[in-house]
């Protein structure tokens, strides 16, 4: 076992883990933050995407021990529990960007990261290319693309970004 200390959704966390613990296991099994999902074992589906130090990261492909001192943001921390939804969450709902909801947390975390890197005006082509690492089996992506474009626009001026990036 080895100790690791990091910040998750703004709160300091210390855990004693088997070195082979992945970040996603730390989140789901130790911290019971089950909004981050696992959809594959080849690091390709993106259901597990969270932000590590403000950047979209596949939590199934990072060891917890690699994250000593890191700042991790998960879907549960994107908006304050009692506050309004993040504009990107709102956009997914408004545009029916989800069906079964399994890919959704990873999609939303990826989407917020796209906006951070590419700005608030996103054309369909850019969004589709940027989603290479996120697989959805339900929606055919049509409404996810719409949601991300709308969410990106809504993030302008709302002051909302990824908290960990600030």
């Amino acid at each position: 076992m080895a100790a690791v200390s990091l910040t998750v959704n703004g709160k300091p966390v210390t855990a004693d883990v088997d070195p082979r613990t992945l970040l996603v296991q730390l989140l789901r099994e130790h911290l019971r933050l089950t909004g981050t999902h696992v959809g594959c074992d080849t690091s390709q589906c993106g259901a597990c995407v969270v932000h590590v130090n403000g950047k979209a990261t596949k939590s199934c492909t990072v060891l917890a021990l690699q994250l000593e001192g890191a700042n991790v943001l998960t879907i549960e921390g994107l908006a304050a529990a009692d506050g309004p939804l993040h504009p990107m969450q709102e956009a997914f709902r408004e545009n029916h960007g989800l069906q079964c909801g399994y890919c959704t947390p990873g999609m939303i975390m990826t989407a917020v990261d796209i906006v951070r890197r590419k700005g608030n005006d996103l054309d369909d082509h850019t969004i589709r290319e940027e989603l290479e690492g996120n697989i959805c089996r339900c929606t055919g992506y049509h409404n996810i693309v719409k949601a991300i474009a709308a969410g990106a626009r809504a993030m302008r001026g709302s002051g909302a970004t990824s908290r960990a990036a600030e």
Binding site: D18, Q89, C100, C136
Partner: protein, 788 residues
């Protein structure tokens, strides 16, 4: 139409939990003392299991138990079953071979589970599993359905000679042969409907808990139909009496058919939980899903379509070999028969149809229903033949279709289906208009200028949904009735709980069912909660598949609502001191006709529970009604999809550049959700046509066993879609709903392949039309443009 009523694009009630990461999928649930289970699976497609040594594994750290198929057999539990009996031509029943949840004696496909390890953590279970020594004697395997019944092929099950499950047929062979003989023109095609891996993004999962005090078992399971799971596990496997087994299907992350079936893993988890006296959890890893989730399709077909001198279709003859894999999965027998051959008339008047289906075992993962289930295969046969026929006859494919469309309803096809309503001309015309069909020639020239090939393809599909009238499916061999149940529970304050036997895993029932109830009772949708997926709270139900939840599940709710309204009127009559016959219920208000005396919904609900103002000897207190609805017919959604592709002849890469879908789903409750269903279905169909390639080598190893080798459609593989509807109401249910869940997946493969073959100028290419496959066709035909 009110803002939340029928027909309104209401935003989904269930979304809040999914977008905030607070949904509850099976793997999110943990029970005190829970252990992890790991399945040891055969690495061979076909092998004798000579001996399993578990001694060392049992002593590894954290291990709570190691069990083998032999031990499972000793506990005298029953087999998994296929619940739909199909008879061969000669009247003999299908050859259903035994399927134990843990294989003993012989493994029949790569992934067949032979033993399990239960330990404190999954890592420990895996560590211990490496110490389990299984002594296999590999046997020759058969993988190709076309070779399974051949002389000398390895025999998989003693009880199924020639690996043949049934030789089934439907239709009039003589009349069809005569039609072919007398035809002016016959179009013949052979095709493979490629095997698909369903790949719901949430892997299957099961968590089983045994309560020794009550002797009861609880199973949390990523399933589309908890009640049927409970029935099969109780009645056939004999794990526990039905009343001692509770099955909960919490949030489920997509199904597409693959989570309808009763699988070995949930059975073994229940068994193991009782054995080790701890809750036991299993969640598939994706590579495990690839070798255990029931696959879809896998047909080899030869088909001929006969035309007369006017371009009228006079006959259709089809022979299909269907690969059902190593065991018969829960509904596998029905898919290539009753869900397939009965749709071979498409949208057309075809006087004579004859279809033969040979179903075979192979050493591959079992094959069962996958989005569309039989109907995409039928549509592919009919629509590819019509398109190819039009090309051979030199007729515009849209015109040939129009010429042959069914025009008068009801229409009795020559393959048992009775089409109740539709307007195929309307959907085709609207699609041609939206797609700018007329502009295709110009677009093609533009593509050519850029060195690209362009093609356009249609699919005017039909499907049978709303499964299904119980007596009819009973005659066809189904082991269950396919009605649906509902209970409407009105609370004293007027809010409502709806309990449905349907299950949602992406379809948005919590919203659409609430819309229906709110609309009827004059409530806001927030006052209506939809409960589903727990055998302890919900009355028996048949689950969700076959686009049945709208047509059948909502009809059951309507029936229950009728009863609620009738009773509420009685109570209102007493409250308002009027005759029951004078009470009118509208917009959430009970009014005495011709007066301004009225009582609000909430007052009547409260009155029902207070029970002061009516004689309880005549009217029972309370307001709660249940209903079971059995449909009178299948429903027949239909529509027209048009696909346009562009091909880079140098690389062979095909890109879908535009898509138009005009569907007739009857009444639409929530157009936003319906459009989403079409998008998702089309994406899966495009995936089948262009990307998804399930490859077994001849030893039975699944070569495309992960996302590294199995291409899932991604956002950049697809365009945005133009989706629209036309409406003819379905006469066989009270709401006029036909169902929309599968249409996209049914129409899309044919539309894409019609477009590809149009661009290539040859019919000779199978799905998936990957870049190398298209290049090979062009290369062989020496159609390669000179390098620029």
């Amino acid at each position: 139409m009110s803002v939340t009523g029928i027909g309104a694009a209401v935003r989904r009630k269930e979304d809040r939990r999914f977008i905030t990461g607070t949904g509850h999928y099976t793997d999110d649930i943990n029970r005190p003392g829970q252990a992890s289970i790991y399945f040891i699976r055969s690495p061979h497609a076909h092998a004798k299991i000579k001996k399993i040594d578990t001694h060392e594994a049992a002593r590894m750290p954290g291990v709570a138990g190691v069990f083998t198929g032999e031990q499972f057999a000793q506990d005298k539990l029953g087999n998994l079953i296929c619940g739909w009996t199909v008879l061969s031509k000669d009247g003999s029943p299908m050859k259903m071979a035994p399927h134990a949840a843990l294989a003993a004696g012989k493994a029949n496909h790569v992934g067949d589970a032979v033993a399990v390890v239960i330990a404190d953590t999954l890592a420990q279970a895996k560590d211990a599993a490496e110490k389990v020594v299984v002594d296999y004697e590999p046997l020759p395997a058969v993988v190709d359905p076309a070779k399974a019944a051949a002389k000398g092929a390895p025999l998989i099950h003693e009880s199924a000679p020639n690996n043949t499950i049934y030789n089934w047929h439907l239709g009039d062979a003589d009349a069809t042969n005569a039609a072919l003989k007398n035809a002016k023109h016959v179009t013949t095609l052979e095709f493979i409907n490629n095997r698909l891996v369903p790949n719901a993004m949430e892997p299957r999962a099961a968590l089983a808990e045994y309560d020794a005090a009550s002797g009861s078992l609880t199973l949390w399971n990523a399933t589309q139909n908890p009640h049927v799971a409970r029935l099969v596990i109780a009645a056939f496997v004999g794990m526990a009496p039905e009343n001692k087994l509770r099955v909960i299907a919490p949030d489920v992350g997509g199904g597409f058919g693959s989570k309808i079936f009763i699988y070995p893993e949930e059975v073994v988890c229940l068994w193991a939980a009782r054995k080790v006296g701890r809750p036991v959890k299993w969640t598939a890893e994706r590579s495990e899903s690839f070798i255990t989730d029931a696959h879809g399709r896998d047909h080899v077909t030869k088909a001929q379509m006969a035309f007369d001198g006017e371009g009228k279709i006079t006959g259709l003859k089809v022979h299909t070999t269907a690969n059902l894999g190593a065991y018969m999965s829960t509904f596998s027998s029905a898919v290539p028969t009753f869900l397939y051959a009965t749709l071979l008339s498409g949208q057309y008047e075809i006087p004579h149809i004859y279809c033969e289906v040979d179903a075979v075992y192979t050493n591959t993962v079992p094959v069962d229903a996958y989005r569309g289930a039989g109907r995409p295969e039928a549509t592919f046969v009919v629509e590819r033949l019509v398109e190819a026929g039009a090309r051979e006859l030199g007729v515009d494919p849209a015109v040939l279709r129009q010429k042959n469309f069914v025009k008068k309803f009801p229409y009795q096809t020559s393959v048992a289906s009775l089409y109740d309503a539709g307007d195929y001309h309307a959907s085709l015309a609207k699609a041609l208009e939206i797609h700018d069909y007329k502009g295709f020639a110009k677009r093609k020239r533009e593509s050519e200028r850029n060195g690209k090939l362009r093609g356009i393809g249609f699919a005017t599909y039909i499907e049978a949904c709303g499964v299904a009238p119980s007596a009819l499916v009973g005659q066809l061999g189904a082991g269950v009735g396919l009605w649906e149940s509902a209970e409407v529970r009105v609370n004293p304050t007027g809010s409502v709980e709806v309990l449905t036997g349907c299950h949602q895993h992406g379809q948005g029932h919590e919203t659409t069912f609430a819309q229906l109830v709110a609309d009827r009772l004059g409530l806001s949708i927030d006052q209506v909660n939809v409960l589903h997926g727990d055998t302890d709270t919900v009355q028996f139900g048949m689950g969700t598949y076959g686009s049945r939840s709208g047509a059948v599940g909502m009809s059951a709710i309507v029936k229950a609502l009728d009863k609620v309204e009738a009773k509420a009127k009685k109570i209102a009559a007493h409250l308002l001191e009027a005759a029951e016959g004078d009470i009118v219920f509208k917009d959430g208000k009970f009014t005495v006709a011709g007066t301004d005396k009225s009582a609000a919904w909430g007052e009547v609900a409260l009155g029902a529970y207070v029970a002061h103002k009516f004689p309880t000897s005549e009217i029972e207190p309370g307001l709660k009604e249940g209903a079971f609805y059995d449909p009178t017919n299948f429903t027949f959604p239909a529509g027209c999809h048009i696909c346009e592709v562009e091909i880079d002849p140098e690389t062979g890469e095909a890109t879908v550049v535009s898509w138009t879908a005009v569907d007739d789903f009857g009444t639409v409750i929530n157009p936003m959700i319906v459009e989403g269903q079409v998008h998702g279905g089309v994406a899966q169909g495009v995936g089948q046509a262009l990307l998804e390639h399930t490859v077994y080598d001849d030893k039975g190893q699944l070569v495309s066993g992960s996302y590294m080798d199995y291409a899932m459609p991604r956002a950049d593989n697809l365009p945005s879609f133009h989706v629209d509807t036309t409406v003819t109401k379905c006469p066989s249910n009270p709401l006029g709903i036909k169902g929309c869940g599968e249409a996209g997946a049914i129409a899309a493969p044919a539309a894409v392949m019609n477009a590809i073959t149009n661009a290539l100028g040859t019919e000779l290419i199978d799905m998936p039309a990957t870049a190398p496959a298209i290049w090979a066709v062009l290369h062989k035909a020496n159609k390669m443009p000179r390098a620029a």
